[in-house]
């Protein structure tokens, strides 16, 4: 084991991830109740309403959580729901802009400032969340492009969270889902659905069980399940085969590693005996 070159492990992982991406296996995706919860919550939002889209991630987690933004925005725009997007992560605004343009403008023909807006980034984390609950235009006086929000038709009648049907939060850490639950959902009693990285999803299960989160998308699997619900085959669906084989490979490594470990311990004991 000591002399084992770990580059073999790297090559195996590269192959099990790369091959299914090039030649998909098409394994069926099962949708969990947490994802259905998020989907149903958006289904209940009446067309023409406004949803606050909190895009709290940056390019580091883009492959894992960006598909969630694509899938949920597909659902929102397909139901003619207006989207007010903003970020609490400095690296977020260009990603939000990209997904809003691709899905809203290019796919559904929605108009910036009328059907959707990118309010950009504001530093202050939890303070900004609470401040949004008091006044959205007061917290974000101008959008990503510097246009005063008072000049944007979408912001007519939007003062605070009582004017939005729900919040959809896609996050990759702090500030993110936990803070939206603690600072906003519990304080302003607004409906909240969330998507997060797979590693942080277990932390948010208690919030889902308590009803503070109406739905939870965990990692690439959550995004793929949502894509299935909205009938879109995106990067998450394509990535699920790679993730399946990746998980299998890691399990095989754990098993092989332990077999080798027990064999070496036994032979050491024999040598001593």
């Amino acid at each position: 084991m000591e002399g084992f070159d770990r580059r073999y492990v790297f090559v195996v992982i590269l192959l099990v991830v790369l091959i299914p991406l090039l030649a998909p296996l098409g394994l069926p995706i099962r949708v969990s109740k947490e994802v259905v919860g998020a989907y149903d919550a958006i289904e209940r939002v009446p067309p023409g309403s406004t949803v606050y889209f909190a895009c709290d991630y940056d390019p580091a987690t883009l492959p894992e959580v960006h598909p969630m933004s694509y899938a949920t925005l597909n659902h929102l725009f397909s139901r003619d729901i207006k989207v007010v997007g903003a970020c609490l992560w400095p690296g977020g605004p260009p990603l939000l802009e990209e997904v809003l343009t691709r899905v809203g403008e290019e796919k559904f023909g929605k108009k910036y400032g009328v059907d959707f807006v990118n309010l950009g980034y504001k530093e202050g984390r939890e303070v900004v969340m609470v401040s949004l609950g008091k006044s959205i235009p007061g917290t974000f006086p101008a959008d990503f492009y510097g246009t005063p929000v008072s000049e944007l038709p979408i912001m007519d009648g939007i003062e605070d969270f009582t004017d939005v049907a729900m919040i959809v939060n896609i996050s990759a850490g702090y500030p993110g889902t936990k803070e939206w639950v603690q600072q906003v959902q519990s304080r302003f009693h607004v409906i909240l659905a969330a998507g997060c990285t797979a590693v942080s999803a277990p932390e948010y299960y208690p919030y889902y069980q308590s009803g503070q989160l109406v739905g939870l998308l965990g990692g690439l699997a959550g995004a793929a399940e949502y894509e299935k619900l909205v009938g879109v085959s995106g990067t998450a669906t394509r990535g699920m085969d790679a993730q399946s084989l990746g998980h299998l490979a890691i399990i095989v490594f754990i098993v092989i590693g332990n077999i080798l470990y027990f064999r070496s311990t036994r032979s050491r004991r024999r040598t001593r005996g």
């Binding site: 084991m1 492990v9 580091a60 987690t61 883009l62 990209e98 530093e123 084989l245 754990i254």
Partner: protein
């Protein structure tokens, strides 16, 4: 005075923000909103300090030829470049800033994160040893959840996702809830200690 004034400010404003949560009177809430705006402005200054720090530390690194000093050049050049194109040409769709952000920074950043997969696999092979019963339980639970969360698990055995869901919704959630409650109680205790001036580490210095 150097220590007393910050302690008094913390005690007064900290207590006020606690009261503001429970008292929805317009006078209280409007003052609370003003304090929040102050906080946002003060925090924004951290970015100016951050940029100044990066320039100072990396500038010194280059001038002193410290370890890995050549790497400081692309860092400072990248900072200056993105700052300049963002300020001069704007940051929206189709701008130079956006193109560099989406087609250079984003893939590089994603690549760094994806390296985790290789290190996790390597660690699973070299370090995940089942030496005790507890480690065995952890390994079994991990394998079930790892398989149950991906499509291949259901293909292998249709009960795997059901067992995985039970692990996530019963033992995992119970443990996580206990941790959350413990952390919340700890946060309340620390908050009170800060407001009352018992915890003073945030003041820095000696």
């Amino acid at each position: 005075m150097k220590r007393e004034v910050p302690l008094i400010i913390t005690a007064v404003f900290g207590s006020f923000m606690v009261i503001e949560y429970f008292v929805p009177h317009p006078t209280v809430t409007s003052f609370g909103e003003m304090l929040q705006q102050w906080a946002i402005i003060v925090v924004a200054f951290a970015y100016v300090l951050g940029v100044a720090n990066i320039v100072r530390i990396n500038g010194e690194k280059i001038s002193r030829r410290s370890k890995d000093w050549p790497y400081a050049f692309p860092l400072l050049a990248g900072l200056a470049f993105m700052l300049t194109v963002g300020v001069v040409f704007g940051v929206g769709n189709g701008t130079l800033f956006n193109d560099f952000y989406l087609y250079a920074y984003a893939p590089m950043s994603g690549t760094m994160f994806s390296l985790l997969a290789f290190f996790i696999a390597s660690a699973a092979f070299r370090a995940f040893r089942i030496r005790t019963v507890e480690a065995g339980l952890l390994a079994v639970a991990a394998i079930i959840v790892m398989l149950g969360r991906v499509p291949v698990g259901a293909e292998m055995w249709d009960k795997l996702p059901v067992i995985s869901d039970w692990i996530m919704n019963a033992p995992q959630m119970a443990a996580k809830r206990a941790i959350l409650i413990g952390a919340a109680l700890g946060a309340i205790s620390t908050g009170l200690k800060v407001i009352l001036g018992i915890e003073r580490n945030y003041l820095g210095g000696d």
